[in-house]
Symmetry: C2
Subunit: 463 residues, 2 copies
């Protein structure tokens, strides 16, 4: 898809693929009401093309031969007050595969084109209904796996990130206007307070961009999930803990399909966070079987990727060299939590020894059997995450955002440096223009078709 | 679920499970507008509970704290002009798992109950919006796998089966009224033309019931799919044909014999029919490996279940005892079609020999490589089916329908026999009442909660 048209009619099934109560087929473009009209016999005997905006009509969807296909509800939206800004018809039919295919097929046979992925949202963007970061938020919202990621996506979609970005652009514009107005004066003639004012403006816009950039990694964790890995010597009950943790949240887990990336990884939600919990092969000091060796390599890899490591110790037996061995393999920059498992049995592990190894890292006594300590564990995990997540205003969510902001930041740095070195303002403004241009690319005021292709190709068809 | 309430509010996600552009959450019951209202901030600043019927409202779905969850469209339907006959609110949100779960969760936390499977349609039935066969057609429509099954389901949903059933009931009622009016007269006093008239009525209603019953098996094939099985000695190219018919590489094709051990089944649509195509392990006379033996047992089972058998012969080699062996294993009551494969190579099979075995059963020369003969094959398969499918008016679709009609038919037979034997009409009418009762159960004029439970438990939640 390169240059795509805006003035033709497009249609697609907008609901998820599969059988369900309802499916919705969305049609957008000039003339859709007239085009859909012959396929619809309203129970009210009124014409679709006469229908008022934002009204719903009940009737039969029929073939040209008059053969009914389904009983449907047809929703009418009129330009410009629609999702795409064009006339839009949404056909809500029964959610069967044959029936939706049939209805879509009839529409596609009458001058309507099948929509490309994300094309409805692309039209909304081109019609100025939302900026590019908002369009991207639509995708984040659909893919959101937890309350936190949902929250960020809806805030971005509602335009609060756009507002912050607009503020940055406004400040850059003001600074530029200021400078361009002063261009006629030689640098040394600039009044001190004018210079100070400009210096303050530089500082303000720099701080805003910096704050946006610092939120990026945090956001990535929220969107893509926090890796929590269970590790320990063999037979300390890692897998029982793994299962018990999942069991506790079975409903939540089953609501998150296709999130598992590895046979040993399961998704769950802990206090609103999307967590990817990993079980690992036991870490042993002298693997003999090649399969054990492979398992250990994978465990070490999982440890390196993790954000939080749960180091499991069997509390019912004395501390062993093997436990020390496990601990030594955990990268020390990770958040580490010691789990003293089997708390339903008498405690025989030497806590002092453990402490000498773990330092003041938190530890929890718990039992996969009795579920003792599970609440505390979840609170602790969420605590780690909340520490990382402390909010600092608006947040960017995409690598694209980060790169555009970094370009803007770098151009701004150069401009500020030239300004400080008291170079003529002519040498300062090009960098400021570049910073502004980067910001405009970020929000999509400036865009290439290629960029739109990349962004919208990630969308599902029908959005 | 036993006795379920009608006067409370229910909600469920009505669209298929998964990620997509749109998801729809349906809410029904008295008071839903007032209940959903606090969660919705309309962009038009109007109140949901004041909204006109059949209108759509754009706004934000919010938590009680005011935190936005999504931008949504809310559709308002008012009793009795809604699917369930009650006030209905449909919330069309972004089709993400977290966002739909969140919105549903908020509704369920405010006095709305999660709907049971099929409960919306159950309410529609209880409100008299559709009869029981129409409610069942909703499910058929959603599960329809081909244009034919879709056609039957929509006809049934539109009420044309209901109309025929009503005619049967009307005729039974008329016959009963006739008889009860004549009860005062001794049998021998009935005028000849009155008796002839009754006899004619018996015949008419009997014919109608019989015609409905005869459509049942046909319909089952249309709905559940026609089993077409590929069979042949090893290495005649069954799997290549299977793949070529599916137009993708589902079966593992290799030059080695016995590659296929499990009957593979794939669905496809041939000229509007839903076909379940099966590939099988080659039938050999002396299986040596136990796995081959198992494969053969499965092949024989697949053959027994099939409606159509495609017997594949390699046309590029002479006819063998092994081919004869295969043919002998095909149950002779099946529709059998000989496929002379590899028509791209010189023909070396002896057609006379084949004929002596196959008789006048149709045969087609075809090639999985060049796709020669494929059109003919599809026409032939559809031809078999169309023979079976010749339409004779309205069609019942469920075992429940069949059983009710059989009960009605049997009661009618007894009534007619008593009438013929000139028994007093008092002995005739109880059987007629029973026939009528069966018909009423069929359409749901008479029903038990248990029956509704069985019927609606097959539905998806949200329908």
């Amino acid at each position: 898809m390169t240059k795509i048209e805006m003035d033709d009619m497009i249609a697609a099934i907008a609901t998820p693929f599969g059988e369900g109560g309802i499916a919705v087929i969305r049609v957008s473009g000039p003339g859709v009401l007239k085009t859909v009209e012959p396929f619809f016999v309203s129970h009210e005997e009124s014409k679709l093309s006469d229908a008022a905006a934002n009204t719903i009509h009940w009737g039969k969807f029929i073939e040209t031969s008059g053969l009914p296909i389904d009983q449907v509800l047809v929703s009418i939206f009129r330009a410009p007050r629609s999702y795409t800004g064009q006339d839009v018809v949404e056909i809500s039919c029964h959610g069967g595969l044959a029936v939706t295919k049939k209805i879509l097929g009839l529409l596609l046979g009458s001058g309507i084109r099948h929509a490309e992925p994300g094309e409805f949202t692309r039209r909304a963007f081109l019609a100025g209904k939302l900026d590019l970061t908002q369009a991207e938020a639509v995708l984040d919202l659909i893919h959101a796996k937890s309350d936190r990621s949902l929250e960020i996506a809806i805030r971005q979609l509602s335009g609060s990130l756009s507002k912050t970005l607009q503020e940055v652009k406004d400040e850059l514009l003001r600074l530029l206007a200021h400078m361009e107005a002063s261009l006629d004066f030689p640098e040394e003639d600039l009044e001190v307070d004018v210079k100070t004012g400009m210096q303050r403006q530089f500082g303000s816009v720099r701080a805003k961009i910096h704050s946006l950039l610092s939120g990026f990694e945090r956001n990535q964790l929220i969107r893509e999930g926090i890796l929590v890995t269970l590790v320990g010597k063999p037979n300390v009950g890692k897998s029982s803990l793994f299962n018990a943790l999942l069991e506790r949240d079975r409903a939540l887990v089953s609501d998150l399909p296709h999130t598992t990336r590895d046979p040993l990884e399961e998704a769950l939600e802990i206090k609103g966070f999307y967590v990817r919990l990993r079980d690992t092969a036991g870490l042993i000091s002298t693997p003999e079987h090649p399969l054990d060796k492979m398992g250990m390599d994978r465990t070490l890899e999982a440890l390196r990727e993790s954000h939080v490591v749960l180091c499991v110790v069997d509390g019912s037996v004395p501390f062993e060299e093997a436990d020390r061995h496990v601990f030594n393999h955990i990268p020390k920059d990770k958040k580490i939590l010691a789990l003293i498992n089997k708390s339903d049995l008498p405690l025989r592990v030497n806590l002092t020894e453990l402490e000498s190894l773990m330092g003041d890292r938190p530890r929890i006594g718990l039992s996969a059997k009795t579920r003792e300590g599970f609440k505390e564990l979840e609170t602790k995990i969420a605590g780690f995450l909340e520490m990382k997540m402390v909010e600092t205003g608006e947040q960017i969510t995409k690598l694209r955002h980060k790169k555009a902001l970094e370009r803007a930041s770098e151009a701004l740095r150069r401009a500020e440096q030239s300004f400080r070195e008291k170079l003529s303002l002519e040498f300062v403004t090009p960098d400021l223009h570049e910073a502004l241009e980067s910001m405009r690319e970020l929000t999509g005021e400036v865009y290439s078709e290629d960029l739109l292709d990349v962004i919208f190709s990630e969308f599902c068809i029908g959005k």
